[in-house]
């Protein structure tokens, strides 16, 4: 399509690099340097979207981050499509597929436009007042309809093809915004040799100066100043320049977070590059130089395509070489639009300027209008047109009354309602705003963090002052205060007469003056909200949704609170602002997530024999961060068959388990035993070196926290084990007491979880399997009884060999330095073939221990369970005066007779395997809610007993032995018998390996 509205010979586009993309299926041409908005305007396309609620036709309103209207779905290829992109900031790149949003069937002909006809019904908060009858219609009808109408673009449904990375960095001075203020600040700060980062969200640095063709700075054109400043900065090693980088969040302690768009502007990016980079900057000092946003004017139908901000007209003309229209009416209440009008006139466009201010109040800017018709003292009462503006209706004001209407034919309106400093980041830093009446704006007041603002974001609009202010801020931030004067000509026309909704002769009831363009909030909505008692600006915001759209009210905030102040006759500072929150502009989830995707989402911890298990075809389960072998199916086996085989192997011969994930802590020091005494409920003083003991750990609230076998290696050295998931918290718990409660104890903790690989060799043949490899340890039952530990060697490497059993069988846990684990495992596995040695996983381990009635913390216990509840009151020393958790055990509720106690359950039918988590009742005929006695904590089909077994906690369970109770099943209930929670070998003989021909019950 021809670029009919492209202006010759100017602009910052690269005419040597034409590009083309499609918009709603039509090919649109442009140049490198264009945004989607400028390219569309160059081709004469004004209609760019539909509004949220009324589906009004909308064109582009702005030229930057504040755009509420022109939001596009942008498709960059498979896995690269996303909604709600602001046409004003997306760079035009060859090959993009761009489409407008929120319409059906097409942008031009949108059924949703009927909403505009019933707009009188769809006022602020209408949905709170209706859709209540009949009740059932809400879920079925009303809500789905509301939802279908809501939303803007379409969420992506394919996984993202792009990558994102993070970068943490530090600097002395972070300068946000590279307009004149930011450039001057960066120059000053870097001159002092400090580490400086200068970031600007735009493709090019220079800010407003990129659209300024008339100003000179120190005698040179503004553009030359920008070029030189950037060259100087780029030449300084201590400066990092980040363009296309938005500072979106200002967090505690000068943590400022920025997103850099690395590849979106490239047609064929290097695949090594991430799409976006999230910069997490910790800055010693921050200079905010984020500029100001122009305000629209409030008048009826101020939202037609072609009506945009005056400074945007200027920017399109000067920076992008685009005429947003050929007949442009500027409507303003202030000085800055005069420059826009002059610049538009300078390229030969037909220009008229309407100023709300009477002739007498117009300042030196008047001189800029030579050859331009000026209608001073005029108000705007409406516009004409449909999908594009065709005229602006104006009328003279005299003595407060509105005179005769007159329609100025035009195809573009440049409106300016004054300026709002971009105080977003300042506010996010928790700085307090102050209101300056003379510029009708909130500006930064007292800083809370090491930060300062400069330029338009501080309410300074004159170029020379901005530069000087920027310099001083930069120098100050660098700790080398200095000042520099800049000469800037001509003087910047500044000043405006605050106006909310322009005076009109129309019945206000019929006037729809849009404030929040995206969310279709009009001045009337604000009035309604206040009338209904929503007086706080926060209430007004929430009731009307003003400033809650994707632009977060950059163009509408001030208008709304100005209106509230007018209606309530309260000063603006009393009305206050709504809260500025991150992000300044929307940020992709991807940038925030960074590399935390796929295998780098969360660490997958694997044990030393993991690779071997993978090769064996093991199935794995996640246990905290670990991935553990769950069972080792042979071809054709399901989980049950595999687990049954693994269990039988352990009971009848021998099995191998990689138990390396168990937490391990080495507790060392002369006071180690005393420390253990305080940390655990049982006693440790009498445990001799070479012996092991089961340790049950409580928290101070008396509930079981963790457990594990503890081996005393030496008088001053314990090898403590913990559960797999509990390792970090047990270590932290111990360290906490050691450092903060008992600093007098001479004890040191070292995590040795990962130092020692652990191979559990369990089963009647266990001793035979390990014997050939062990040196320096007498393995005979007499010399090496159950619950002891010996140090020696296995396969020639050091081992802490423990004779312990979590299966009830004769067994050993071989601790070897982790890198040796696999070699030892393979040796044992090879040698053990003659015994049918079988690797087993966590599931078989669970079954085996349940048969023996051993608890698993986190399965039988849940943080509300005392030692006595699980039948381990024997672990609680009566003799010790104190230990962690002791006092809590004496609270009245800890001794209640109806506490839930650990029992065994046998399914009455001998077949049903209960579901873990199933609830237990005494009587199934009760009405709901039923009295529940407890729940099943563990349940398996015991391969050894060939019978389902379960562990459960049951109210007063120990007194219920032999009772029949009922357990929930998916279908109903099943009967169970309450038995002792030990199903096999209650005397504990099997650990001695005294089996005769296996067990079958």
């Amino acid at each position: 399509m021809a670029q009919d509205f492209r202006l010759p010979g100017r602009g910052r586009i690269d005419r040597k690099k034409p590009i083309a993309f499609t918009f709603n299926g039509r090919t649109v041409g442009g140049y490198e340097g264009d945004t989607l908005a400028s390219a569309l305007l160059a081709s004469g396309i004004r209609l760019m979207g539909r509004s949220f609620k009324y589906h009004r036709p909308r064109g582009v309103l702005t030229h930057g981050a504040d755009e509420p209207n022109a939001l596009f779905q942008v498709d960059r290829g498979t896995g690269r499509a996303d909604p709600n992109n602001r046409a004003t900031v997306v760079e035009a790149v060859a090959g993009l597929t761009v489409s407008s949003q929120n319409h059906w069937p097409s942008l031009e002909h949108d059924i949703g436009q009927v909403n505009d006809l019933v707009a009188p019904v769809l006022t602020a908060g209408f949905y709170y007042k209706t859709f209540m009858w009949p009740r059932s219609f809400w879920d079925k009808f009303y809500e789905p309809a509301i939802r279908a109408a809501a939303g803007l673009g379409v969420a992506p449904d394919a996984p993202d093809a792009d990558r994102y990375v993070h970068r943490n960095t530090h600097c002395d001075v972070l300068v946000v915004g590279a307009g004149p203020a930011g450039l001057a600040a960066a120059l000053a700060a870097s001159e002092a040799g400090k580490r400086v980062i200068l970031a600007d969200e735009q493709a090019e640095m220079g800010g407003s100066l990129l659209a300024d063709l008339t100003s000179t700075i120190d005698g040179k054109p503004a553009s030359a100043f920008v070029a030189e400043a950037l060259k100087t900065l780029a030449g300084r090693a201590n400066v990092t320049l980040l363009s296309r980088t938005t500072a979106f969040g200002y967090y505690n302690h000068n943590h400022v977070v920025l997103t850099e768009r690395v590849t979106d502007h490239l047609a064929a990016p290097d695949p090594k590059l991430p799409r976006e980079r999230l910069w997490q900057v910790r800055a010693k000092e921050v200079v905010l130089a984020t500029g100001a946003h122009e305000r629209p004017l409030g008048f009826a139908d101020n939202d037609r395509p072609g009506i945009m901000l005056a400074d945007s007209v200027r920017t399109y003309v000067n920076r992008y070489a685009v005429a947003p229209g050929r007949r442009i009416v500027f409507a303003t209440n202030g000085a800055s639009a005069y420059r826009a009008a002059a610049d538009a006139k300078a390229v030969g466009l037909d220009v008229t300027l309407v100023d709300l201010r009477p002739e007498a109040e117009i300042g030196p800017e008047r001189a800029l209008l030579s050859g331009i018709e000026l209608l001073a003292g005029h108000t705007v009462v409406g516009s004409t047109g449909g999908k594009a503006v065709t005229g602006l209706i104006v009328a003279p004001l005299s003595g407060g009354s509105v005179g005769a209407r007159r329609t100025l034919a035009c195809d573009c309106v440049g409106m300016s309602g004054g300026w709002t400093p971009a105080v977003h980041l300042f506010s996010q830093s928790r700085g307090k705003l102050t209101f300056r009446t003379e510029i009708d704006a909130f500006v930064p007041g007292t800083s809370v963090q090491a930060e300062r603002s400069a330029g338009a974001c501080k309410g300074t609009y004159d170029l020379a002052s901005i530069l000087a202010e920027g310099w001083a801020a930069g120098a100050d931030a660098a700790g080398a205060p200095s000042t520099r004067a800049f000469a800037a000509t001509p003087a910047t026309p500044t000043g405006f007469k605050a106006a909310r909704v322009l005076p009109t002769d129309a019945d206000p009831k019929n006037v729809r003056a849009f404030l929040d363009f995206q969310n279709d909030v009009t001045a009337k909505d604000i009035g309604l909200a206040v009338r209904e008692g929503f007086e706080s600006v926060e209430h007004v915001k929430r009731y009307t949704t003003n400033s809650m759209a994707t632009d977060q009210g950059k163009t509408s905030n001030m208008a709304a609170l100005g209106l509230v102040s007018e209606i309530l006759a309260k000063d603006i500072p009393q009305v206050g602002t709504t809260t500025f929150r991150p992000p300044y502009t929307p940020v992709t989830f991807g940038a925030i997530v960074g590399t935390a995707r796929g295998e780098t989402f969360d660490p997958i911890r694997t044990a030393p024999v993991h690779e071997w298990a993978v090769k064996q075809g093991a199935k794995f389960e996640n246990v905290s961060l670990w991935r553990r072998a769950w069972y080792f199916p042979k071809p054709g086996e399901d989980m049950h068959a595999a687990v049954a085989r693994e269990c039988r192997a352990v009971r009848e011969s021998v099995g191998l388990l990689d138990a390396s994930t168990l937490g391990k802590i080495e507790v060392v020091g002369p006071d180690a035993a005393e420390f253990m005494n305080r940390m655990y409920p049982n006693g440790w003083t009498k445990l001799e070196p070479g012996k092991c003991r089961y340790g049950l750990m409580l928290k101070e609230d008396g509930f079981i926290f963790d457990d594990g076998i503890v081996a005393r290696m030496a008088p001053d050295r314990f090898h403590v084990t913990t559960s797999t998931g509990g390792a970090p918290r047990v270590m932290a718990h111990m360290e906490d007491y050691l450092q903060t409660e008992w600093p007098d104890l001479d004890v040191f903790l070292t995590s040795i979880t990962e130092e020692w690989g652990v191979i559990a060799v369990q089963g009647p043949r266990a001793r035979e399997v390990i014997a050939p490899f062990v040196t320096g340890i007498d393995l005979s039952p007499q010399a090496f009884p159950q619950m002891t530990v010996r140090e020696g060697e296995i396969l020639g490497v050091p081992t802490r060999l423990m004779r312990v059993s979590f299966t009830g069988e004769l067994g050993f846990e071989i601790n070897v330095p982790a890198d040796f684990t696999q070699a030892v495992w393979e040796a044992l596995f090879g040698y053990g073939q003659r015994f049918g040695i079988t690797p087993y996983g966590t599931e078989a381990m669970h079954v085996l221990r349940a048969e023996r009635g051993f608890i698993i913390v986190g399965q039988e216990t849940d943080g509300t369970v005392t030692p006595d509840d699980v039948g381990l009151s024997g672990m609680v020393s009566k003799a010790k005066k104190d230990f962690v958790g002791k006092r809590s055990l004496a609270r009245p509720d800890m001794a209640r007779a109806d506490r839930k106690q650990l029992v065994g359950l046998l399914s009455a039918d001998g077949r049903t395997v209960l579901e873990e988590g199933a609830q237990i009742v005494a009587d199934t005929r009760q009405a709901l809610p039923m009295t529940m006695l407890g729940h099943v904590t563990s349940s398996y089909l015991s391969p050894t007993l060939n019978h389902p077994i379960a562990l459960a906690v049951v109210s007063g369970g120990r007194a219920r032995m032999g009772e029949t109770l009922f357990v929930t099943t998916p279908a109903g209930f099943t009967a169970v018998k309450v038995v002792a929670p030990v199903f096999l070998d209650p005397e504990g003989k099997r650990v001695e390996g005294l089996v005769e021909g296996g067990v079958h019950a």
């Binding site: 990558r163 990375v165 993070h166 970068r167 943490n168 960095t169 530090h170 580490r195 090594k272 590059l273 910790r282 590399t595 935390a596 295998e599 780098t600 969360d602 660490p603 997958i604 911890r605 694997t606 030393p608 993991h610 690779e611 993978v614 090769k615 093991a618 199935k619 794995f620 389960e621 996640n622 991935r627 769950w630 069972y631 080495e666 060392v668 020091g669 002369p670 001479d746 040191f748 070292t750 995590s751 040795i752 979880t753 990962e754 130092e755 035979e768 014997a771 050939p772 490899f773 296995i794 020639g796 490497v797 330095p817 982790a818 890198d819 040796f820 070699a823 030892v824 040796a827 040698y831």
Partner: protein, 199 residues
């Protein structure tokens, strides 16, 4: 009794060492955690077992292969080439005789990486929130910190950085660094085997 089997177990680190690349996996080493009480003003030993313990907190003393990194007021990570630990342990203990201390061998607990080249700090800063610039983290610096979701020890050795992490975190750390290094060129370094999905 069955016949004795006399083979010596070989060390099988979680990641195979690699000799080149922006992110290298270093060969196995021997290591100790040495702890002592260090109340303010305490006089601590200057050395033990040939390790220089005199550096202040968050510094390292020694050579790239044999060093003592002081990670806490009274905590050092001692690293030496694989095989040297057997002699070093007793030597340290005897040098410290008479003090309350804890010496625990952790040679197998960690895996180590070496990052070199102009972008080494940038790669690390993809996951480390500390200032790793020359000014803030000059050669001779060492500290414990986080890389993404893994705890690591960073040691500045000359222009390069040595990174230590617990064994089971090594695949994560490695993958993380590979991803971060991607934009700076190829970061080859082989892993041993796959890390399978859960069943």
């Amino acid at each position: 009794m069955p016949e004795p089997v006399a083979i010596h177990a070989r060390r099988a680190p979680i990641l195979a060492p690699s000799a080149s690349g922006l992110v290298r996996v270093l060969p196995p080493a021997d290591r100790f955690v040495l702890q002592m009480k260090a109340p303010r003003g305490a006089v601590l030993p200057a050395s033990a077992g040939g390790f220089d313990l005199s550096g202040p907190l968050n510094t390292v003393r020694g050579t790239p292969e044999r060093f003592a990194a002081r990670l806490g007021p009274g905590e050092w990570l001692l690293v030496c080439p694989a095989g040297e630990g057997a002699a070093a342990g007793p030597a340290i203990a005897s040098d410290l005789a008479g003090r309350f201390f804890s010496l625990v061998a952790v040679g197998h607990r960690n895996a180590a990486f070496l990052l070199s080249g102009t972008h080494a700090a940038d790669i690390l800063n993809a996951g480390i929130a500390l200032d790793l610039s020359d000014a803030a983290f000059p050669p001779g610096s060492a500290t414990r910190t986080l890389l993404g979701k893994a705890e690591v020890v960073v040691v500045r050795v000359g222009d390069a950085f040595r990174l230590e992490c617990w064994r089971s975190f090594a695949p994560y750390v490695h993958a993380f660094l590979q991803e971060a290094a991607r934009e700076f060129g190829c970061a080859t370094s082989s892993t041993r085997g796959s890390r399978q999905g859960a069943g």
